[in-house]
């Protein structure tokens, strides 16, 4: 597949040049996936898909146009590329657009394990059986639980990038996921919400089959996470320390990382603009982007422009030391690309020494945050206000569940108030972070 796509990609580049483009780049993606959802021991849905995608950017004389298509046949690509060329004279000239410096392009000289040679390992029947087994194991733990769905999915994808600098390379990746969500009755004691329920779940996801979490462990977490929400009440409006679970820490860092993206910085849409070299966070915070970690979900040899991937320190002892830059953002900011076209690879918050239990026991009166909702995140101003759910912490111990309230602060304050960092990292996504404590946030409830 990769070789076939490489041939097609270099043909596209050649054809673009023939049409008069002075810079051409293209990415081709092919993905084959399988997903089954089961409920009550029966298949709810089973889906198999194979999809293709092609993206081409054509540039002539600083004018640029792009096309995309899932139809890779010649009779579609040719007129599409021609239409794009015909639209070029209408475009403004953008002196900052360019392909990467060829010196920066290439493949990192390491071996990254992200493609399971035995993919997909199992037949469809076994995949279905696995989802059913996870459901059985979970429901067996607690009779009041009902299944919303248990699922298994896998994916293999092939990506090739080529450009008129002569870059041509590709890679394949595999991904397995298995998970469950369950629901249970939880009548509210007052008001009209007498049909209240609580739902939660757990999943595991990894590039290699053997790295998936054991079903027993997934079942156990799904069960515990759901039951601990029962009887949730609204907390008081107050200002308290908040312990972010690893998942919530991930959500917070994902937003932070977008403020470090060159695109946000040159557009003046980042609370971190003009802050290079300044103390922007608690001095114990070490944050970096690490593309070369073997087996991790965000690992890569090169970015989506073919710029060679290498580790990049973002925050060192609380000081902002780098932004993440694509070639374009680099040109705008008069800096070199850091290999971040297409976003972060693995964003790593260096773990501290505390277990989650220790983080919780450090709080007399506060919140253990397990869920957030809503779009109240403003990376431009730094304002942060989200719907939340969690467990109240009283005298260093988890107490009653709380819901229907908001937490608020600003990124600027949260980064400074992030004063205790945990040690257990969640590896199910490209943001590798332990739980942490933010010592003061506003809670709005009753």
């Amino acid at each position: 597949m990769i070789d076939q796509y490489k041939q097609l990609a270099s043909n596209i580049v050649e054809y673009g040049k023939k049409l008069g483009a002075d810079q051409v780049s293209t990415s081709l993606v092919n993905a084959v996936s399988f997903q089954v959802e089961v409920r009550d021991g029966k298949i709810e849905s089973l889906k198999e898909s194979g999809s293709a995608g092609m993206y081409v950017t054509l540039c002539r004389d600083q004018q640029r146009s792009t096309i995309s298509s899932n139809d890779l046949r010649l009779e579609t690509l040719r007129p599409l590329m021609r239409s794009a060329m015909q639209s070029l004279p209408f475009m403004g000239k953008d002196p900052y657009y360019s392909l990467p410096d060829p010196q920066l392009q290439g493949r990192a000289d390491v071996t990254l394990e992200f493609s399971d040679p035995d993919f997909p390992i199992h037949q469809s029947e076994q995949k279905v059986a696995m989802a059913i087994e996870l459901e059985e194991k979970t429901l067996a733990l607690e009779s009041s639980l009902r299944s919303e769905q248990a699922y298994y999915s896998d994916l293999v994808s092939h990506t090739v990038h080529a450009d008129s600098n002569g870059f041509l390379d590709g890679y394949s990746k595999t991904l397995y996921s298995v998970g469950i969500s369950v629901v249970t009755e939880d009548k509210a004691t007052s008001g009209l919400n007498i049909g209240r329920k609580q739902t939660d779940g757990w999943f595991s996801s990894a590039r290699f089959w053997e790295k998936l979490e054991a079903l027993e462990s997934i079942a156990d977490k799904a069960c515990q996470r759901t039951l601990r929400k029962l009887g949730a009440i609204k907390p008081p409006t107050c200002e308290v320390p908040v312990v972010f679970s690893a998942e919530m820490a991930r959500s917070f860092l994902a937003s932070c990382s977008s403020a470090m993206m060159g695109d946000h910085v040159f557009r003046k849409q980042s609370f971190l603009m003009d802050k290079l070299g300044e103390l922007v966070a608690n001095p114990q915070i070490q944050l970096s982007d690490q593309p070369l970690l073997s087996g991790m979900l965000g690992s890569r040899y090169f970015d989506s422009e073919g710029v060679i991937a290498k580790p990049l320190t973002l925050i060192e002892d609380g000081k902002l030391v780098n932004y993440m830059l694509s070639t374009y953002a680099g040109n705008k900011l008069k800096m070199e690309s850091t290999g971040h076209a297409g976003g972060i690879s693995n964003l790593v918050l260096e773990p501290g020494k505390y277990t989650e239990e220790e983080l919780i026991s450090s709080v007399d009166n506060g919140l253990y945050l397990t869920s957030m909702s809503g779009q109240g995140v403003n990376v431009t101003t730094g304002d942060y206000s989200r719907g939340a759910q969690g467990l109240w912490i009283r005298d260093g111990k988890l107490a009653e569940p709380v819901s229907e309230f908001t937490i608020a602060s600003t990124f600027q304050q949260m980064l400074h108030n992030l004063d205790l960092i945990g040690c257990e990292v969640d590896t199910r996504n490209p943001i590798l972070t332990p739980p942490f404590r933010i010592n003061k946030m506003s809670i709005s409830g009753t």
Binding site: L8, N11, S65, M91, G374, G376, T381
Partner: protein
């Protein structure tokens, strides 16, 4: 692909969409250009039911999308995107088998059909005698003759420049303006094993302005958009570029002077139109019947019960002319209807797709929707709205001593099971002694569906639909939707500021 040959043969090929009625367009495209005949569809349906499925449908789709973006006064990019494919769905009871093919050759479609067929595993399958297609001719709620897609690039650029100029002219503190124009033509054909055969041509237009305002270290953003299933007459009828340019700029400038929002429980006035987001989250999602079929919604099994204040009557419908949520037929081929969800506070019904309707032994409601051929349908909203009330909006304002007034929103989210929802205002004000006073920022509103709806204490007589800008996400599938609402007072809600 053999490119050598292509380069030798230098004939000009220009992309051309077919014209005519939706049925003629779909026929010209899928049959004329792609060679998918009735015979092929019979063969594919046959393959889909070859393992004993009860029902199968085919969803052919061709989507043509163009976009132009202006930033820093430069037309930065124009793009064209094509996406086509067929989704094959097989149902066995309430189980779904699904596969799709981007290749519309008979062989590839049959392969997808056999994959989808595997949801059923009967040993004996009775031979089907062939399908009789009943070609439906639905009403057209968005009869667009001249599409935005037909507008020459140079004219699109003029409109974009107008919007940009309007934003910059509004105030010198506007430092950056980004304008985008996106238009899509989505041509679909749905063919089912029970003989339903329907085509639809769905235009979608969206123009958006995003501004950054700066005053010393204070940076704020504002945005505004318009759109819907509209054609060129919409663009020509009013000076939309100028209006949204100003509106986005005004929002960013207003926020430069905004104060941090208060926090705690207080009365909340929802301004007309955009506040319909509240309905979408608080009531809409939990009334999608798949959640109720599975018993996971806070509203499960509560039809006939009081779930909102008697002032609330709520509908969902795909029949609002040119609205972003309009649909001539849903993605299972069913026609839209005016669905009464809540009548004077009493829950009357859910929104259904084929599976949930069969489960409840009801007619489908025209809410079976999917993002594209690559996804199977599920119950989704179209345009959800709260019917007009009787109170003058001024009186609603006067009824509040200390509270907030919300004008526009960036979005919302709901937890179906416990009913908790949030929605996030971008423009909101403090209300003091019946008067709108200072603009506020950085807030999230949180409530519980049935509780918040029971707190609706006044409903205005100034109903309006929101501009067509909303996209709804569910299970990883995005679909365009509409919302509408008159001014509403919620007597108590949690406002999350700092």
């Amino acid at each position: 692909m053999d490119l050598e040959e292509a380069l030798l043969e230098e004939q000009e090929t220009v992309l051309q969409l077919p014209t005519g009625t939706p049925d003629q367009m779909a026929k010209a495209l899928f049959e004329g250009q792609m060679g998918v005949t009735d015979f092929h569809m019979h063969q594919v349906l046959q393959a889909a039911l070859s393992r004993g499925g009860d029902y199968a449908d085919l969803y052919f789709e061709y989507a043509y999308r163009t976009s132009v973006v202006m930033e820093e006064s430069i037309i930065k990019n124009s793009s064209i995107s094509i996406s086509k494919g067929v989704g094959v769905r097989v149902l066995k009871g309430d189980q779904t088998g699904y596969a799709y093919s981007e290749d519309l050759s008979l062989e590839a479609m049959q392969r997808a059909a056999r994959t989808a067929a595997s949801i059923a595993t009967s040993a004996t399958v009775k031979e089907h005698e062939g399908y009789r297609f009943n070609r439906l001719k639905p009403s057209n709620y968005y009869p667009v003759i001249r599409m935005v897609t037909d507008l020459p690039l140079a004219d699109k650029i003029t409109k974009i420049q107008d919007a940009e100029r309007a934003a910059h002219d509004y105030d010198p503190r506007i430092k950056r303006v980004t304008v985008s124009m996106v238009d899509t033509v989505d041509i679909v054909r749905i063919v089912t094993s029970d003989g339903r055969f329907v085509s639809d041509v769905r235009p979608m237009f969206r123009m958006n302005v995003h501004c950054v305002a700066q005053e010393e270290k204070n940076v704020q953003t504002g945005s505004a958009g318009v759109g819907g299933r509209v054609g060129l007459p919409f663009l020509e009828a009013e000076d939309h570029p100028n209006q949204i340019g100003k509106k986005a700029a005004a929002e960013a400038i207003l926020l430069l002077g905004a104060e941090q929002a208060p926090s705690g429980s207080m009365p909340v006035i929802l301004g007309p139109a955009q506040s319909g987001i509240l309905l979408h989250e608080a009531v809409g999602h939990p009334l999608e019947a798949d959640f109720n079929r599975k018993g996971s919604s806070a509203y499960s099994g509560r039809v006939g019960e009081q779930v909102a204040s008697p002032l609330c009557t709520i509908y969902d419908t795909g029949t609002i002319d040119y609205d972003r949520g309009a649909l001539n037929c849903d993605d299972e081929g069913f026609l839209p209807s005016q669905n009464l969800l809540i009548e004077n506070g009493i829950l009357r019904g859910y929104m259904h797709d084929r599976i949930s309707a069969a489960h409840y032994d009801l007619e489908p409601t025209g809410n079976g929707r999917r993002e594209s051929y690559a996804h199977y349908p599920m119950p989704r909203m179209t345009t959800t709205y709260l019917a007009n009330g009787e109170t003058d909006p001024e009186e609603i304002l006067e009824a509040v001593d200390q509270g907030i007034y919300c004008v526009s929103f960036s979005g919302g989210q709901v937890d179906i099971s416990n009913g908790d929802f949030v929605f996030v205002p971008t423009v909101a004000y403090l209300v003091e002694k019946g008067k709108i006073t200072k603009p506020i920022k950085n807030l999230t509103l949180i409530g519980n569906g049935p509780d918040a709806m029971s707190q609706v204490s006044l409903v205005g007589n100034d109903f309006a639909f929101s501009e067509g800008i909303w996209t709804c996400g569910k299970d990883g599938q995005s679909v365009p939707v509409g919302v509408g609402l008159p001014t509403v007072l919620i007597s108590e809600m949690t406002v999350g500021g700092m």
